[in-house]
């Protein structure tokens, strides 16, 4: 099926194209046709004296004209290909919105694949959208492409073969799997092989999240660079707690750790531990604690308890579920609500706390019951855009995360 290509919406700053294809090769052809049509249009502008005169008088186009007054050929400056696997229709919608929000920051080709019923007939249906947006501020033109692919039947089990021909040559490929990813499955592993980095969200892992953490750790061990939105949501928690110990009085106290407690939100019946375990895993690797006893239910069954070892000291660790009065936009199951870290050395005792208050975090440190340090910060809103942006900025390995994850998996003992 082939539809004549024409710009579907032209305003002063954005030009868009749309095409549809029923096979991969047709998708590739349609993409080429879109860009030839875009180039033709630019060429027409270049040749038409009226358009040239108008363009020369337009300050927004000033940067795009060469010294003869011709418009330069429209260039696509792609920096990466983003592959999104959206298993549910609502995830696909969310992914499209998130990618659109980032289009101008990361001009890229986005391939959003929605695998359909694996038992149905084999189908392939793609919508191809391209847009060139002229920034009014800089006069620079940014072009992006979005390919929405729906697969059905056995093809849904071979997503790597769907994606591979559509990747931009030699540019980094980032895989974003917004729902619970099937770590270790063939379809996941094949796609992971095609990509340079991947983004997942441990906050969406099924059940208590422990199995997902183990799968993610295996993926890391296999050499893939993984970014986890759940871990990124802990950034501010880590930063504030670490900032307290920048105080010269407290840095020296760090070896004297005595106990750690993390309170997590439990809106339903499931206690999701992935974030709390990663947080404890981070602290454990930073302070050289090993896992002495993995997580288990406390005797009164109210919480989960474990123990780390630091030299000759045992450091008890507790994950305590708490009810919450927060709005749904600010937290989900497993969200960290409070961290309490106690230390003692000689006659000095230190208590560091990070507490969530609505969308803010407040960190305080008391040294012998007197407050000596205080930090505050605002949490990112619950949307995924900033995290995707961060993952796209950095496709390299994050060694701090990888060490923390490994310790977290030891802690959950899956």
């Amino acid at each position: 099926m082939s539809i004549p290509i024409a710009p579907i919406a032209i305003d002063t700053t954005t030009t868009r194209w749309h095409a549809r294809a029923s096979s991969i090769s047709e998708t590739v052809t349609q993409l080429s046709r879109i860009w030839s049509s875009a180039a033709d249009e630019a060429e027409k502008t270049a040749m038409d004296p009226g358009a040239r005169a108008a363009a020369q008088g337009d300050p927004r186009l000033a940067g795009r004209l060469d010294h003869h007054g011709d418009t330069r050929i429209r260039t696509r400056t792609s920096v990466l290909t983003l592959v999104v696997v959206a298993q549910r229709p609502e995830t696909a919608e969310r992914a499209v919105a998130t990618v659109a929000a980032l289009a101008s920051r990361h001009p890229s080709r986005s391939i959003i694949v929605s695998p359909g019923d694996p038992d149905g007939p084999t189908t392939f249906d793609a919508h191809i959208y391209a847009a060139c947006h002229l920034s009014t501020a800089s006069g620079a033109e940014v072009c992006t492409e979005e390919i929405l692919v729906k697969t059905g039947g056995e093809l849904s089990q071979h997503l790597a073969t769907v994606v591979a021909p559509l990747l931009i040559h030699d540019l980094p490929v980032v895989l974003w799997w917004p729902d619970d990813p099937p770590f270790g499955s063939r379809v996941f592993d094949e796609l992971a092989e095609e990509c340079d980095g991947m983004l997942v969200d441990s906050g969406t892992f099924r059940g208590d999240g422990a199995r997902g953490l183990a799968g993610m750790a295996d993926t890391v061990t296999a050499g893939h660079s993984v970014h986890d939105i759940g871990w990124m949501r802990l950034n501010l928690w880590r930063e504030l707690l670490a900032g307290l110990f920048d105080h010269p009085l407290l840095t020296t106290e760090l070896p004297g750790c005595r106990s750690l407690r993390v309170d997590v939100a439990r809106p339903g019946s499931v206690l999701r531990i992935s974030k709390a375990a990663c947080f404890a895993g981070w602290l454990a690797t930073a302070l050289d604690w090993t896992v002495e006893e993995p997580l288990r239910a406390s005797p009164d069954n109210d919480s989960l308890i474990a123990a780390f070892r630091h030299g000759r000291r045992l450091v008890p660790f507790e994950i305590r579920p708490v009810g919450n009065g927060m709005g749904a936009s600010l937290q989900s199951a497993g969200s960290v609500m409070r961290v309490e870290f106690e230390l003692s050395r000689g006659r000095a005792s230190t208590r560091a706390r990070v507490t969530r208050q609505a969308d803010h975090l407040l960190a305080t440190a008391d040294w012998n019951n007197a407050q000596v340090a205080r930090r505050a910060g605002r949490l990112e809103p619950f949307e995924e855009t900033p995290f995707l942006a961060e993952a796209l900025d950095r496709t390299a390995h994050d060694p701090v995360f990888e060490r923390a994850l490994k310790r977290a998996v030891e802690l959950t003992a899956v």
């Binding site: 920051r105 407050q371 340090a373 205080r374």
Partner: protein
């Protein structure tokens, strides 16, 4: 993340306990006494390669035990956040402080890159209260900050803003400053870290530095002490040396951060990434493949009411000695052994030293064009001549344009001319470095109507930061027509992010102790070493002309300055300068 809340009042410390933040230290048990000394003074970038001048005068490097590291910082943004410090701004009520420094500090805080304990202390002659200075600072941030002012954040930030009235050469005023700094240290926990920022006219630099030395404020006891000095660093070689001498009688070179905001621009750093982060360009970056290099810093504006300043400076002092020499040394330098302050600056100095500093009369006449604009049209409005500007002498010979040819006499660049031009009231604001490559050894396509132009690589600094590569391509027809096409890369269309202001980058670097983007004493002197003798020659010519002709309106008195219409690309003599070598200026 920024802490938007005002910290709550600290609880009263228990007996024998450490005092709360915000309280004065209590005798017997206090963080102040126990606070370990920072390692920064020990780990300041080494100045092994820099000239170690008057070393014996510096006694501040006390043998401090290393502070314990905070192991929790790794992998967090804290690694890029400096320790809390007091930024002491001399000339706090001046234009630079209001327009640049205060908005930059506020934006750093807003971006969460300054710890909340950090403080700003304004120091000026004008009597003001802390609150009055805070009001002034708020108005400045409101007007000049690139990010909007957030009330909650401002209220918290403003608590760390203080003002101290004083004269720059008055010892009692500096003693009062010492006490004030100690008080702020105790109040906010800034741990003796100080960044002195000289935002005053250059004439005040020496007395401020002397006063800091006399009161011992240069010494790094508990924390680090650094001083930021704004350009211009002197007005000729001699004054630059004198300034360096007086600064280095008090401070060690590793404490001195000479700021040229041009180096904080994103593209200037990109230039290094482009050259040394890519493997394909560096092999071509030499006399074998490069025909010549053009560096242009063009401004469409005039002197904008700064007649008095410009009469003293001219384009040579204002742009050539600093910005253009920096660009030249960055484009011509050898790969540094590390991306580290002294390694970089060593290489830059070598380039400047490879330029012949001896300007004979004949060399100056053949290789330099000094221009001044006369009335004309700047874009869509008429503008007056330079001599008709306010505070400008009607017989001024000060150059508003300079074009020159230099040679970097080293193994890499021998016989490759570097053409530099800068001016005011040119047709547009544009800065770029263009590397023009040599023609292919044999032109095979002789039947084409026009020879393709040689390859060119242009690194645009502003506007539209980016890189352009020009190469030949066949016109898609039956015959063999060859035409030059441009492959144009714009940073803006690949990375649509707000780059930080140059002052933000540089202030943060100074607080972190990274001097890569600051100018070292020998670098300043080497740049003056090239430009200063040229200015001297012009002065000689002007003096001779004045002596020869008592009548200042006599045209022969002006022959050394070439005039150009405002809104054009400089005098025709500038075109002749390059056309004489069979080349032409790039059309921008």
């Amino acid at each position: 993340m920024t802490p938007p809340r005002t910290p709550a009042p600290a609880p009263k410390p228990a007996k024998g306990a450490a005092p709360a933040k915000g309280a004065a230290p209590t005798k017997g048990a206090a963080p102040a006494e126990r606070a370990p000394r920072t390692t920064r003074s020990k780990t300041e970038p080494s100045t092994t390669h820099a000239p170690r001048r008057r070393e014996s005068l510096h006694v501040f490097r006390a043998d401090t035990p290393p502070a314990p590291e905070n192991p929790l910082r790794a992998g967090t943004r804290l690694e890029r956040i400096p320790g809390p410090c007091i930024v002491v701004v001399f000339g706090a009520t001046g234009d630079l402080t209001q327009r640049r420094i205060l908005p930059a500090i506020y934006n750093l805080r807003r971006a969460g890159l300054l710890p909340p304990e950090s403080a700003v202390l304004g120091f000026s002659r004008r009597p003001l209260s802390d609150d009055a200075f805070r009001t002034m600072a708020r108005a400045a941030v409101d007007e000049f900050s690139r990010m909007p002012l957030e009330k909650a954040l401002w209220d918290d930030f403003a608590q760390g803003i203080y003002y101290q009235q004083g004269n720059f050469d008055d010892p009692p005023d500096f003693k009062a400053l010492v006490e004030r700094l100690e008080q702020i240290d105790a109040e906010r926990g800034t741990r003796g870290n100080r960044l002195f920022y000289l935002a005053t006219p250059p004439s005040a630099y020496t007395e401020i530095v002397d006063s800091l030395g006399k009161t011992g404020l240069d010494r790094q006891r508990e924390g680090w002490v650094r001083i930021v000095i704004e350009k211009p660093f002197g007005h000729d070689l001699e004054s630059a040396r004198a300034l360096n001498d007086s600064v280095m009688r008090v401070f060690d070179e590793s404490q001195v951060y000479r700021i040229d905001h041009y180096l904080g621009k994103e593209t200037v750093r990109n230039l290094m990434v482009f050259r040394f982060g890519n493997g394909i360009f560096e092999p071509l970056w030499n006399r074998r493949y490069v025909d010549h290099v053009q560096i242009t810093v063009a401004e469409d504006l005039g002197i904008e009411g700064r007649g008095e300043f410009y009469e003293q400076a001219g384009a040579s002092r204002d742009i050539l000695q600093n910005h253009m020499m920096q660009l030249l040394s960055l484009v011509a330098m050898e790969p540094p052994i590390a991306f580290e302050a002294d390694a970089l600056r060593d290489e830059k100095v070598r380039v400047l030293r490879a330029i012949d500093p001896v300007w004979t009369d004949a060399r100056a006449r053949a290789n330099v064009v000094r221009g001044q604009y006369i009335a004309g049209w700047s874009a869509d409005h008429p503008v007056v001549a330079y001599r008709a500007e306010e505070e400008v002498s009607p017989t001024s010979t000060v150059e508003t344009f300079v074009a020159l040819k230099l040679e970097v006499q080293n193994w890499r660049w021998a016989d490759v001319p570097f053409y530099l031009r800068t001016g005011k009231r040119l047709p547009k604001r544009a800065s770029e470095i263009a590397i023009q490559f040599k023609q292919p050894p044999l032109m095979l396509f002789r039947d084409t109507t026009a020879d393709p132009e040689p390859n060119l690589l242009a690194l645009r600094i502003q506007p539209d930061e980016g890189i352009l590569l020009r190469f030949a391509a066949k016109v898609p027809e039956l015959g063999l027509e060859v035409r030059s096409v441009n492959m144009d890369f714009t940073y803006g269309s690949s990375f649509m992010k707000d780059a930080p202001e140059a002052y933000e980058t540089l202030l943060l670097d100074a607080m972190l102790g990274d001097a890569s983007l600051f100018t070292r004493a020998d670098e300043v002197e080497a740049a003056w070493g090239v430009v200063s003798p040229l200015i001297d020659i012009w002065h000689e010519w002007d003096a001779t002309d004045a002596a020869e002709s008592a009548d200042p309106t006599d045209p022969s008195a002006e022959e050394e300055v070439c005039f150009y219409d405002a809104g054009t690309w400089g005098p025709q003599a500038a075109d002749r300068l390059i056309e004489h070598d069979g080349r032409r200026w790039r059309r921008l």
